[in-house]
Every structure is written in structure tokens, then in C-alpha cells.
């Protein structure tokens, strides 16, 4: 639903980077390469990278049914 606050594996805080990652790779007019964006955001380990790469925000989808 909301992006996990920390990486499940190592405990690094990943939620802080989410909004910029989402914007630059999915919402921008010219989406950038996710690998490059993650490098620039300083999300180095692959355990943390998968947290962002595999996430989908669901609040907008769930909200009407509350």
C-alpha cells in the first residue's frame, strides 16, 4: 500500500527516496533508467534497490472502497 519504511533485509531507510524515485522513473515526461536513478539516490545494495523497484502505491486504488 505505502512504500515500506525500511529495507526488509538490511534495515536501511528506503522510504525517503521513494517519491523522487517514483517521479523520475514513472511519472516524469521522460522517464529515466531506474538503475541510474537508484545510483544517484545512493541506494546501493540490491536488497534495498528491490524495495523500490518492486513497489506499487495502492492508496489511490483502495481509497474509493473505504
Amino acid at each position: 500500500m505505502m512504500v515500506p519504511v525500511r529495507c526488509f533485509t538490511c534495515g536501511n531507510v528506503v522510504a525517503e527516496q521513494w517519491e523522487e524515485f517514483k517521479h523520475r522513473t514513472r511519472e516524469a515526461d521522460e522517464p529515466e533508467d531506474p538503475a541510474k536513478v537508484l545510483d544517484e539516490l545512493g541506494v546501493e545494495r540490491h536488497c534495498c534497490r528491490r524495495m523500490l523497484v518492486s513497489h506499487k502505491d495502492l492508496v489511490d486504488i483502495v481509497a474509493p472502497y473505504q
Binding site: M1, M2, V3, V5, R6, C10, G11, N12, V13, A15, E16, W18, E19, R45, D57, V59, D60, V62, A63, Q66
Partner: protein, 262 residues
């Protein structure tokens, strides 16, 4: 008592890499474990909801709040001490960790931009939370050190020239090397060849053939020298984490000494 020599390879507020020598594997691991489990940090433990009309249950929001790292100045608080924080956000807006207001200026969200919950029109989140000081041994949310590890310092020796018809396969090595064969090395990543110098393997793209072209190499561990990789979640700086961790070992040793003396 021997003196420990500490050399930093990288150093910043939340991330550092340093070499300690001479140190035994047992003590190196003791420090690592102390950094993970024994240095207390503040973390939200009890939440009183005044209003929660968001799409998430109280428990889910409680979990998210618990994972938000809170700044913890070392030595200022006792174990179990509590600090109250409050949050009041009305939609349409996202509630962020930065919206948490603390009753104590020293304790607050270490990162301001962690989204707690996305609130829609007419939704509201109002709550009061108690953060408690405890250790990582009790709950992982109190763990100040993230991905703390150590590995042997390595040295690279040149044992001859690579055969003329050898495959030029890369020789991958990760960690930090202590340069031993500067006369055969080339400058990479801003590190001029110099014996005794600490070179992170990223400087030559983790491939030894970039640093020592055309040589046959042998990599060995340096006895009693360990490279620590330390990262914190923002509760405190790396320096504070390491000093506090060593402090907890010292305290326990002193306690043991006292109880043995009768």
C-alpha cells in the same frame, strides 16, 4: 595493552569505512555485535490514536511510526526513558515523518521525508506517540547500526608476469587492499601507487588487472587487520555509534571485574 591503529578509508556522517589493527577476529566481531545490538536508540513504541480515518489500520500506522529513526544524543537519556511526539495532518496531504512534533528538541525524526500515510480528502490522522530508549537486542527498530560488517584487510603480491598467451580474464576483488607492489601498479581512481597505502577496490573497478596490468598476482589476508563497514540509520553519527558500542563492552568488562573481585 596494545594500542589500536585506526585509519579511515571513507568517512561521512552516516557511513564510514576504517581499518583497525592489530585486532583479533573475536574482538572485531564483539564490536560489530555491540554496534548492532547494544547501542540504544529512541523508537516509537506506544501510539494513542485520536483520529485515524486513513485507509490504513491503526496497527499498520503504528508499525510505520516505529520504523522511523529518531535522533538520539548519546549519554543524555537513561534506558527506558520516554519522549512524547505528536502528529496531526489533515487530507488531502501526505503525512511525513517530518510532521512529527517532539516534546524534546533533542529527539525527533532523523529523516523528514518518510511518507507515513497518504491522506485523501476528508481523511485525518491525529495521534500521540511515546518513543522509548532501548537496544537492538530488544527490537530491531532500536538498532542504530545498519549493515555493519567487517572483513580482512588484503594485500596483493606480484609473483611474476602474466603469461603472454594467458586469457585476460578480470581478477575480481572486493574490499580494501594494502598496497605492496607499487612499482608494478598504475594510478587508478586518484590513487597514486604507493607502498603501504590503503586502496579501496572500487578505485580500480574491483578488477586487479586494472591496477597491476600484465602481472600474476597473489592475494592474501593481512593478519590482525580488519576493515569495518559501518552505516547508521541517522539516529546518531558513525563516530558516536562506534564509541558507544565500544563503551558498552567496556562497561560490561568493568561490571564483570567488579563482581569477580567480591
Amino acid at each position: 595493552m596494545e594500542d589500536y591503529e585506526v585509519q579511515f578509508v571513507d568517512r561521512s556522517e552516516r557511513e564510514a569505512r576504517f581499518v583497525v589493527q592489530p585486532i583479533t577476529p573475536a574482538f572485531a566481531n564483539g564490536i560489530r555485535r555491540a554496534m548492532i545490538a547494544d547501542v540504544p536508540t529512541f523508537s516509537i513504541d506506544t501510539v494513542r490514536f485520536i483520529e485515524n480515518s486513513s485507509v490504513m489500520f491503526d496497527e499498520q500506522i503504528g508499525l510505520r511510526l516505529g520504523l522511523v529513526p529518531l535522533t538520539t544524543p548519546p549519554g543524555e537519556f537513561q534506558m527506558g526513558e520516554e519522549v512524547t511526539l505528536s502528529l496531526d495532518v489533515e487530507g488531502p496531504e501526505t503525512a511525513y515523518s517530518g510532521d512529527l512534533e517532539s516534546s524534546d528538541g533533542m529527539v525527533g525524526a532523523a529523516d523528514d521525508k518518510i511518507p507515513i500515510i497518504d491522506l485523501k480528502e476528508d481523511q485525518r490522522l491525529e495521534l500521540e506517540a511515546d518513543a522509548v530508549l532501548d537496544v537492538g537486542k530488544e527490537h530491531a527498530k532500536h538498532q542504530g547500526g545498519v549493515a555493519v560488517s567487517y572483513r580482512h584487510l588484503q594485500q596483493v603480491e606480484v609473483v611474476g608476469d602474466a603469461g603472454e598467451f594467458d586469457d585476460d580474464d578480470p581478477q575480481i576483488l572486493r574490499g580494501v587492499i594494502e598496497e605492496q607492489a607499487a612499482e608494478d601498479a598504475v594510478e587508478t581512481g586518484g590513487y597514486e601507487p604507493e607502498d603501504g597505502q590503503l586502496v579501496p577496490t572500487e578505485a580500480f573497478d574491483n578488477d586487479l588487472t586494472n591496477r597491476y596490468p600484465g602481472k600474476e598476482l597473489e592475494v592474501t589476508d593481512v593478519d590482525g587487520a580488519f576493515v569495518f563497514d559501518v552505516e547508521t540509520d541517522g539516529s546518531f553519527s558513525v563516530d558516536e555509534l562506534v564509541v558507544e558500542a565500544v563503551g558498552t563492552i567496556e562497561d560490561r568488562a568493568a561490571e564483570l571485574k567488579e563482581s569477580v573481585q567480591l
